[in-house]
Amino acid sequence: MPFSAYLNSKRDDCRALVEALGKHFAFVSVLGTDVSATVIRADRKSSAVQDGRGECGFVVKMHDGRSFFEYSLDDISGDKEALAEKIVAAVQVDDSLKGRMISTAALADEPLKEDFARESDFADYSDEQLLTLCRELSQELLQKDPQHVLNAIAMIQPYTVSKLFVSRNRELSQHYGWANGYLVVVYNDEKLVQARHVEGEDHIGLIIENLRKHTDGVIDLARHLTRATAIEPGVYDVITDSSISGLIAHEAFGHGVEMDQFVKDRALAKLFVGQYVASPITNMHDGAAAAHSVASYFFDDDGVLAHDTQIIKDGILAAGLSDLASATQLGTAPTGNGRRDSYKRKAYARMTNTFFEPGQDKLEDMIASVKHGYMLFETNNGMEDPKNWQIQCTAEYGIEIVDGKLTDHYVSPVVMSGSVPDLLKSISMVSDNWKVIGSGMCGKGYKEWVRVSDGGPNLKVRVKLG
């Protein structure tokens, strides 16, 4: 699929609006977005083929040599001088607040013109083919254990992103796609449970292949979850799967190094750059260019090219993640982490693909090293606390490890909590395998949702479970 024809047709309008607003502001950029998403879904009794959460519109960012202003709108057609006047009027502030506007250095606007694209195979699959596949997968799951499977949902959600960024000296476009596939089973055997499997790729062919491989696995997981018990609260040796490693990376230190929090003195990490914050075998990255996954864009919503930022190097906090506004206030170079929920929302410093680097250990040796503990699987949710370095991460389930062996005893759910440095400094083994999972959504506080991936190798940690 090509770059949005609609946005292509708006290049002249964007340039003209930048020009018109340039009479009022030292810096002006226009970001145009055209994101289309499709949801294809089948379960025991119903099905759906419809648009998912897409967007199409524009956000104008302005800087008057001191402070930032933004205006979001659906279309930029028509008289640009009149539109510029409307925008200027809309972002005025009450006189009593004018003296409280921040003062920053002028924004750089380095010249660059480039069009970026990454191929996907979405055009090879019709709605009908994908719906038929979802129906087949749902039926297959239902038939595997008709007595206990109450419902089985199969879902594929492709989405394509086109974005156009225009400022006085830059004109960038990007086009790429990503898709997620889901299997969910509602299973009842004395206890009602849900088990799921998620895939994320930029090729639907790979998703189909992988979903087909996991139908037995999701039924088997459901059976085990019906037998799962509550965990006895306590402090345990824990082995994480890639999903839980990623959740730790994301919640423990990802949010804590979003540098808009540095500006607001909301992140303890600001005081610890250059210091040990994790065990010396810990290395952590974030960046749209750091891995190939759901957040692998070419430039961010501020028009800054994608980076690979090493956050933790050999246990030492090395760098943070910034958007244009926070980098400008801190006097640093932006790291390509300026992201918006949609064109209707503000850009903030946000994570992209966040993960720990692989290490030297073998997973089997890691499990063998645990006298009594748990291996944790599948992210449910997490909550950050960058100021006070507390953490809460919930895993869908865990499997008990006794005398160095995984048992058949499942626990669910498992809430992991405690102090971030205690957790990261307890990392004692890091596996040599590695996986990033591109199916997550991340909020800032309780809003501003963006697509993210996270992951890494298996980690051995010591942490409080409840």
Partner: protein, 425 residues
Amino acid sequence: MSDLKRLLENAGLDGWRVSETATESYELFFVHKNLETVRATDTVTTQVTVYVDHDGKRGDSTFSVYGSMTGEDLKAKIQAAAARAKLVFNEPYELPEGGELEVSLPTNMDTADMKALGREIADAVFAADTVPGGSINACEIFLYRDTLRVRNSRGIDKKQHVCRVMIEAIPTFTTEQESVELYEDHRFTTFEPEKVTAEIARRMREVRDRSLAVKPQTPLTVNVLLRPQEIHSLLSELAYDANYADVYSHANLHQVGDDLQENGDGDKLTFCLKAILPGCEESSYFDGDGMALTDTCILQDGVVKNNYGASRFGQYLGVKEISGNLPMNISLSAGTLTEQEIQAAPYIEAASLSGLQVDLYNDYIGGEIRLAYYYDGQEIRPVTGITMSAKLSDVLSHLRLTAKTCVEGAYEGPERLMMKNVAIL
């Protein structure tokens, strides 16, 4: 866009629905006391659903309409959606019919100049920034004026105007040893400056307490008091389980008639979902289908009384009086717990959690507590760094609800819910 209705009527469809939300906003982003960013928005979100009957079934498909689309674009989108709907074989159902309405949620912010209002709200927030050692390190103020309009092929044309404000403020307290913060998310549809200042001031006092908080000796087993936000979270989980769609897809745990507090010795839970709660931005006179909403009792004396939800799934279940898809506005009946009873035994009152974790399937309730007040039988002191964990069924069986009630956000009901004998680590 004005052609949309005509295009839908002439497309040979068996039904259609248009849901449109026009939003104007004015937004202020403060870093400490300084204004970093000023934003404004003027956008419209439009979703169209087309319905096609075929092979004895009903298919539907939803698509988004953007301001940039031409008449030809719309025609093509409608045809594509109709083709998609023919791929979908769902059991037949009727769209809600008839009714024109134009209403507004009560507000005092509909005519005010947004810039002046933004400044007044900022003044009300920062008026609470008077605690020595305390500060508001970040504050975001969002003023929204929404107009939601739902139309369908069976004559529904309903419009609701909402003026709403969301404040996200970060009260912070700094000592020589450390700096701590709490998160405050305050929403309203009627602006009362004193109430805003009082709410932020309460959080300023609590963040000062967080700086004094220490981890208590653990493990311990103690009664835990939940505040309205967490009571709402707990009851929301019970309510979601009662949605028609979940019942239809066999994903619900509890059936009508099930007693969730069987053999319990505490206060019985009786709560309703209500279309309108005073001051609550989620309040609505109709749902996404344009269907009028009927307040519905979900739990009565601990027993599941009714399901609720959208017209389609209500029809599938054969419900005679369909509630409509009610917002999660919860009205919980008062209990019997008195202040004297609360003080009769040690307790932990959770003032700030990372997020209450409730898992109906696994019979679990718990979460990390960032600030709590621990009464050990002699004195009350702030505590932090603890995690609670309990069996949900045990909590439901023995919980107590205060006789004293309050209205807060999307919740009205007892000020506190007491969970008995919870494990604290």
